[in-house]
Point group: D2
Chain length 165, copies 4
């Protein structure tokens, strides 16, 4: 229900015996976008609600696509639909903070792109949260997958992997 977690993840990983990644550093991402938070993002526990993070993911990915000329929400024939998303929360952020959203591409398929996203407090070097979303690109009318348009393929491949990798 909320994302405040402090040093919680380490404990829960060992308890659960499930792999949970630790927070990555800014160097792991290729491009950044600064977003504002909103009063309404915060929930009854005083920090941004988990659903707000996914609204930031969407906003960062789609704004990047639009700026690159790769997505025309109103008129483009190819649109990106989310078929999977995920987030791990390491520390809380919330209104009135601004945040930096880091973006890279983890996999480019024939009709899908796996975007990897980190949420950073402004002065933090490690992520407060990180996750991914998978877009499948489909025809607007049929909603059937299409081959990635060449410009989209090139631009997402160029965002592949961290700069340091």
């Amino acid at each position: 229900m909320t994302e405040k977690a402090g040093k919680v993840p380490e404990q829960t990983t060992s308890q659960a015996g499930r792999h949970r990644p630790g927070p990555e550093r800014r160097e792991a991402y290729r491009v950044f976008r600064r977003l504002g938070t909103r009063w309404m993002d915060n929930d009854a526990y005083g920090h941004a609600n988990n659903a707000a993070y996914f609204s930031w993911f969407d906003t960062a990915v789609n704004a990047w696509l639009i700026e690159q000329g790769l997505l025309d929400v109103e008129a483009g024939q190819t649109i990106g639909l989310v078929v999977e998303n995920h987030c791990n929360y390491f520390a809380s952020v919330g209104f009135p903070q601004d945040i930096d959203v880091g973006l890279r591409v983890g996999h480019v398929g024939s009709s899908s792109v796996h975007y990897e996203i980190g949420i950073f407090a402004l002065l933090a070097q490690t992520a407060a949260a990180q996750g991914h979303l998978v877009h499948v690109y489909v025809d607007r009318d049929t909603r059937r997958p299409v081959s990635l348009p060449p410009a989209l393929r090139a631009a997402t491949l160029a965002l592949h992997a961290p700069a340091s990798a």
Copy 2:
């Protein structure tokens, strides 16, 4: 950015060479809660935005906890914080549909619970989307993990695994 996917997942799984689960049936869940959708849930592509699904997850889990007497949002000393969540989208739902949210518990740790959630259209037997959220239960003031209160442990263990499993 949205969750409309039709038969998309099958294709993307094979393309990406990554495991993506197929939709489960209602029998895989232990309790259900009917939720309404809202005009605002739908995005520019005409179906509920992915962030809306996570607001449904939160709502279903917390409402269940409150009804069981296991969570007192205003005054309880133990609160649940989301440290991870995930969703796979198989088919679109959206306003003005109602939805059924199926819930089960996949893992009960010493201070965490892994809730598994399916989103169903009212007449559908297979999930439109499914995912999970992991709560770590912490002290409200210190925000440090605490051992699951016995009543919470018992109630979540009772929701363990699908009825048919």
Copy 3:
């Protein structure tokens, strides 16, 4: 930023020297719709945020229109756009409460309808909040006002004024 107000309105009315209406009773509304609240509706002060109320207004009005066969969001040529809305808050509501949304029509213009809306806690006879929204009906493509379709005019006129008026 939030809607919790207790008996606040009386004081503020006299202070401000501005007219602020008192809460109406259920009898003042013609039809009711029960809506669920969501975890995310509540803000840092523990009650539903004011923006959530407007999402309930939209949901109640559009769901009623769709049920009456008066609005086809995907394909209809006439759509309703909000040109004005307003809300006064008298008492707080919030997750996990359900709410009853009362609806009546205050004015039917040549291309507009003024919907009046009350938000009620389930056992309350007086409104926790009340307000209005004004729809102008426009052509989907040109976004220019159109004369109200006859069925819409008839249905909204039938919702005119409180039952007791």
Copy 4:
């Protein structure tokens, strides 16, 4: 349900015989804050939903209060609760646009402040939407109105009226 209105307001004013204000210019506001929009702000008609505007109102007012040192959401004893809000919509805005939110104070009561707000597209001189919200300042615990703290009174009076008035 949405805010797209084009030149609609003029027509509806005359039809309804009700006063509806025309859009104001930037000069009518005292301070401005630039906000980003989000993918999720846009609804099925492709522009920001009306409820999103109220989340911008809240964000602008509360961010200003926090920056002025007048509101401490976590620990302050005096908090501001919305008892009334209102918006008129003149033209649509939406993701991926940024917006400028203009703010001034229209009335300062003994325990309340009437904030007046304009929403502007970045290059526009006239408002896309304008409205107000009324805060009553209350004691966090009793939720009873309190006299405006002197610093809050001074700061809001300094924002009184448009610069040109």
